[in-house]
Symmetry: C2
Subunit: 240 residues, 2 copies
Amino acid sequence: MAKSDTKSETVRSPRVPKRTSSASRPARRPASAKTETPYHHGALREALLQAAERVLERDGLAGLTLRAVAREAGVSHAAPTHHFGDLTGLVSELAAIGFRQFNAAMASACDSATTPLSRALARPKAYVAYAQAHPGMYGLMFRTERLDYARPSLHEAAESSFAGLANAIGAMRQEQISGDALTLDQGAAIARAWSMVHGFTMLLLDGRLEDILERLPAGTTAEQLLEAILKSTLATKFPA
Amino acid sequence: MAKSDTKSETVRSPRVPKRTSSASRPARRPASAKTETPYHHGALREALLQAAERVLERDGLAGLTLRAVAREAGVSHAAPTHHFGDLTGLVSELAAIGFRQFNAAMASACDSATTPLSRALARPKAYVAYAQAHPGMYGLMFRTERLDYARPSLHEAAESSFAGLANAIGAMRQEQISGDALTLDQGAAIARAWSMVHGFTMLLLDGRLEDILERLPAGTTAEQLLEAILKSTLATKFPA
DNA sequence: GCGAAATCTTTACACTGTCAATATTGCGTC
DNA sequence: GACGCAATATTGACAGTGTAAAGATTTCGC
């Protein structure tokens, strides 16, 4: 299965045309048999993205390579290049998918909230829950330097995610958050909420909250710790 | 300067002993001339760590490779292996240095605070300031999966950093934080402070706060945004 | 002084991203 | 339907990476 690519040939082949027009390959594909893998995949771009997500969640960020994705999808190692340009392209498109998944999860969580307090808690809890359910994706979205935000799909998905956050903060403050200008108070409220939830998520995924969790009363979960944090933060708004 | 290592030799050399005892090398080193680079470096380990920090801050995390560090230090590409085992080892030792630098900066910042409010603000501000001054180091310490916390130097330095945070929170709550057990309230306070500052720092370094900053009144800096966040958080403790 | 251990270099190999050249197929146009 | 071109996929090559093994050199303990 393509274990070694560079065979270090004895002589540097001087680009001889060879002209092996489908007769040199012994019997790889009997000329348009639908059951065999055709030369043209048909929907390789989507297949590659799905393969990439599988590889990411299975092998982590370090295992997410162009060649690994190509292997997972069963195509040659250079096939992804044609669809995504380079690794940055593939990673950026996958991150855009992650942001859309994430946005959908957040919207769904907000819908199912009833009381004001539960509305205030639903969003951050869903945030952390998404990251725990898709740690690879969350890491791809937030800890990769290799993202190209100039790509429209990624830019739009990330922008939409930010807008959702800003709107939620605005609703909690009972203000209309304008798209153009923010007061320092508004900006601070948004940055504070985002920083706290993002920071908590990163520390949790990195295992750095273990030191705290194991010192808490036995059996305390990360979710309970998060809820305690949120309630202490919201204490002024929702006095017990 | 060792531009290409794998020359793809024509014939696979079958390990012939060759016996070239210092006569085959023409005149590389005239037998113990102190001005020339000696075979034994003497303090290569420290030199490698300093070279690694230079490479990290110059070329970023992606540029921090074993071979790049070796080039920077002027030794062969496999020299670091002997001192650090593998890339994880080098990166972990460098991260330990980062944590010690960081701890020193935090301690210094706390000393120079006078009023209770300034004491409460000094630590997070110094935290963000360190990350901005050493973005490569901070990224190494907090966004690398390739850290081996089993290494005593790294474990100890990171532990000390956490202890400093816990003590600062305890002082603010006017409680004695025990090393063994925490109440849920205490754990939540520590995790909340750490999450917020860490999250703010990561978002800032990643440029994700730009969307907010450019919507704030013209000229607002990240430091001012941070201060607004901190003051709103501390409003209950230090009413204006 | 001498052998052993520590240190550093050399060599090799599997893996990676990326580019160039080639092969194959689909599709619009006659 | 046949032709030609563009899109798609493969093959091959190359520079770079980490890492392991083996050789060269120096230092150190005795």
